[in-house]
């Protein structure tokens, strides 16, 4: 994360006029350029998600796949093109994440196979490799769905073939390929109804376009670490992953909400910000703009002063990224998370928690290990295994607390010699309910059964903001509306948080329960929490109401009814 991403610098521009041959080393640089540009635009790809819950992670999956591919060749010095691409494909295969990641790995595999042990990429071999990449990718599915990354790959291969009529220069050919990729991505909603309904283009196809566009931008000497001038919906600006691209020297993250004056020139705004820092993103919603930038310590106030001259600032948020990164690491010096000490033979519980507050609550109930993860960042099997492998006991229970993590947890239970049970807890409250049944010295089967049967004792409400307009399960949702999930199922949308909370209590029959626990998310202000709490207390005076700082991302509130 913090190691200097050797993003290709424009001063080492490849001299395309001199037709510098594309050998292994050149291709390695191009692959890095593709990766860098994809990472820069990761959040835009993530935002192209059809479902209203903020779990869009196609961009993240593709970046992780491409990163694994590049890591494989990062330290090699082969000049042979075929060998480099073969290793790249191998890395992509091993690191494939998600559907789009698997397809991406297949594209590279076909690309590599076609090139064999060629030394140099020329027009013909480029075109053949694109065709083989397409064929390999299409072989991987019985009924290919058009309007996806597959279609984009197909169109790119056709573009390469057509370009062969006019040129045998791979650089020139790349221009044709990238142009067609862009056009093809734009056409995806015409081919796939679900995209059209959601009003988006295909995320995987867009990611593939970014990879090749990154190569082209690098060749043309354009910057790769600043997103193109574009205004995205505010919901697309999920900052969690922005930290991955932190460069040394850019220690502070500054986020400013502002309302610009009438004559606001986005282009010059970007240009001026570019002088101050990196990772610039600007989002817009209802006339309010949000700007995000990473700047060095001594420039941390510059973006604020500058933005102030353009309009009215409503909110400023400054964060020390280095300190934050340290916290994200295993150390967590300032949190003093005291995990339960485990003695040999006892039952250890491993939990997955999306936020520091929730992690603390689990720790206080006797969790032996905690893995950071949740809706958008699913921990890998490896991370889960690592969390309990060193515990001095061979009886382990895993509480995934999210159905997206079941598979990884199950896989973890199969690759270890320890006795591991996965309790299918789908939500945080279910996990807590199970946690309360833990008897560390009890009989393993009894405890597991007890925990499993406790899952239904609790009703879960999750409140979040829809990132997209859509209709699911008969509930119509407008982008930006508050939506409520009851036991992991979308039940209603509302204009305000207050309305959402009260409607949830009505539907979940809160009057039948005694205890209401409210976990508020990391982006929720204290005053709002107090307001909601007062509202609940006045509507349900006989209930016990408990409020906890959950610190979870995306979800404003997670509510449990017991």
């Amino acid at each position: 994360m913090s190691e200097g991403q050797s993003s290709p610098q424009s001063r080492e521009i490849l001299d395309m006029n001199n037709n510098q041959p594309i050998d292994g080393m050149v291709f390695k640089t191009l692959a890095n350029a593709g990766l860098t540009w994809l990472r820069t635009n990761q959040q835009i790809v993530n935002a192209l998600n059809v479902f209203p819950v903020p779990d869009g992670d196609t961009g993240t999956n593709m970046v992780l796949t491409m990163q694994a591919a590049y890591d494989e060749i990062k330290n090699t010095l082969y000049k042979n093109l075929g060998r480099i691409i073969h290793d790249l494909a191998h890395g992509a295969l091993m690191g494939a994440r998600g559907n789009s990641g698997v397809i991406l790995s297949q594209l590279w595999r076909g690309f590599a196979r076609s090139l064999g042990d060629k030394d140099i990429l020329d027009g013909i071999s480029f075109s053949n490799a694109m065709a083989e990449a397409r064929d390999t990718a299409y072989k991987g599915v019985v009924r290919p769905v058009e309007g996806t990354i597959l279609t984009v790959a197909k169109d790119m291969a056709s573009a390469a073939e057509n370009a062969l009529q006019v040129t045998n220069d791979p650089y020139e050919m790349l221009i044709y390929i990238v142009n067609e990729a862009e056009a093809s991505v734009e056409r995806t909603p015409e081919l796939l109804d679900v995209l059209k309904e959601a009003g988006v283009v295909d995320a995987g196809g867009k990611g593939l376009h970014y990879i090749f566009e990154g190569m082209l931008r690098y060749i043309q000497g354009q910057p790769l670490d600043t997103a193109l001038i574009s205004v995205q919906p505010l919901a697309a600006m999920q900052m969690d992953n922005a930290m991955e691209s932190i460069e040394p020297g850019q220690d502070f993250e500054v986020v400013i909400d502002f309302r610009p004056e009438v004559h606001f020139d986005l282009q010059s705004y970007y240009d001026n910000l570019d002088q101050m820092g990196t990772s610039i993103q600007v989002g817009e919603g209802d006339g309010i703009y949000r700007m995000h930038i990473h700047v060095p310590t001594d420039k941390r106030y510059d973006p604020i002063d500058y933005t102030m001259s353009l309009g009215t600032i409503t909110k400023v948020h400054i964060e020390n990224l280095l300190a934050q990164m340290n916290w994200m690491g295993t150390g967590r010096p300032d949190q003093k998370l005291s995990l339960a000490p485990i003695e040999p033979g006892q039952i250890a519980v491993v939990i997955v928690a999306p936020g520091p507050g929730i992690a603390r609550v689990f720790a206080s109930l006797g969790a032996a290990a905690i893995i950071e993860g949740g809706q958008t960042m699913n921990p890998s099997t490896q991370e889960i295994v690592a969390s309990f492998e060193n515990l001095p006991t061979d009886k382990v229970i895993i509480l995934p607390n999210n159905k997206n993590i079941f598979m990884a947890a199950k896989a973890a239970s199969e690759v270890t010699v320890k006795q591991v049970a996965v309790i299918p807890s789908r939500t945080i409250p279910q996990g807590l309910s199970a946690m309360l049944r833990l008897v560390p010295d009890g009989n393993f089967e009894d405890v597991v059964n007890d925990m499993e049967s406790s899952l239904d004792d609790v009703e879960t409400g999750e409140i979040t903001t829809a990132t997209r307009s859509v209709e699911i399960d008969g509930v119509a949702v407008e982008q930006g509306e508050i939506i409520v999930l009851h036991n992991d199922k979308l039940i209603l949308s509302a204009a305000t948080l207050e309305e959402a909370c009260l409607s949830f209590f009505k539907i979940a029959k809160a009057e039948d329960f005694e205890l209401i626990t409210l976990f508020y998310g990391k982006d929720v202000s204290k005053s709002l929490v107090n307001k909601i709490t007062d509202l609940i207390r006045s509507n349900y005076p006989d209930h016990e109401v408990e409020v906890q700082d959950g610190g979870q991302p995306h979800y404003q509130f997670i509510i449990s009814l017991e």
């Binding site: 494939a96 196979r113 599915v141």
Partner: protein, 118 residues
């Protein structure tokens, strides 16, 4: 039969219908190149009858719906990731169509197909 009661009567969905939805979703999942039979006898019957639910087992015990999927995967893909996304896709499509939650989806990778040699 998965059953849902509404004020004007009940809706019953047969496991066969659920299996058809799951089958379609699985066949469209990337990396899946075919469905497999659980055992030889079932495999023989399937040669004779063209079955739109081949390789899918739906269990309904009156409470919960469990689905078992038997698939063949393309050699050279990451099996874990493909199986994962099959499970997710099938769950999403079936839950969307049915409006009832699925308890468990088990993906059994019965074989790999090697379409070309690297």
């Amino acid at each position: 039969m998965a059953k849902e009661t509404t004020p004007i009567g009940s809706i019953q969905v047969s496991p066969q219908a659920i299996a058809t939805i799951a089958f379609q979703a699985a066949m469209r999942s990337y990396g899946v190149v075919g469905m497999a039979s659980k055992n030889v006898v079932a495999g023989l019957t399937n040669v004779l009858v063209k079955d739109p639910t081949h390789g899918i087992d739906v269990h309904y015990d009156g409470q919960q719906i469990d689905i078992d999927i038997y698939i063949i995967i393309e050699y050279g893909t990451r099996i874990k990731t493909v199986a994962n996304s099959v499970a997710n896709t099938v769950r999403y499509q079936v839950e969307k169509a049915l409006g009832l939650p699925i308890n468990e989806i088990n993906v059994h990778v019965q074989g790999l197909r090697i379409s070309s040699l690297d």
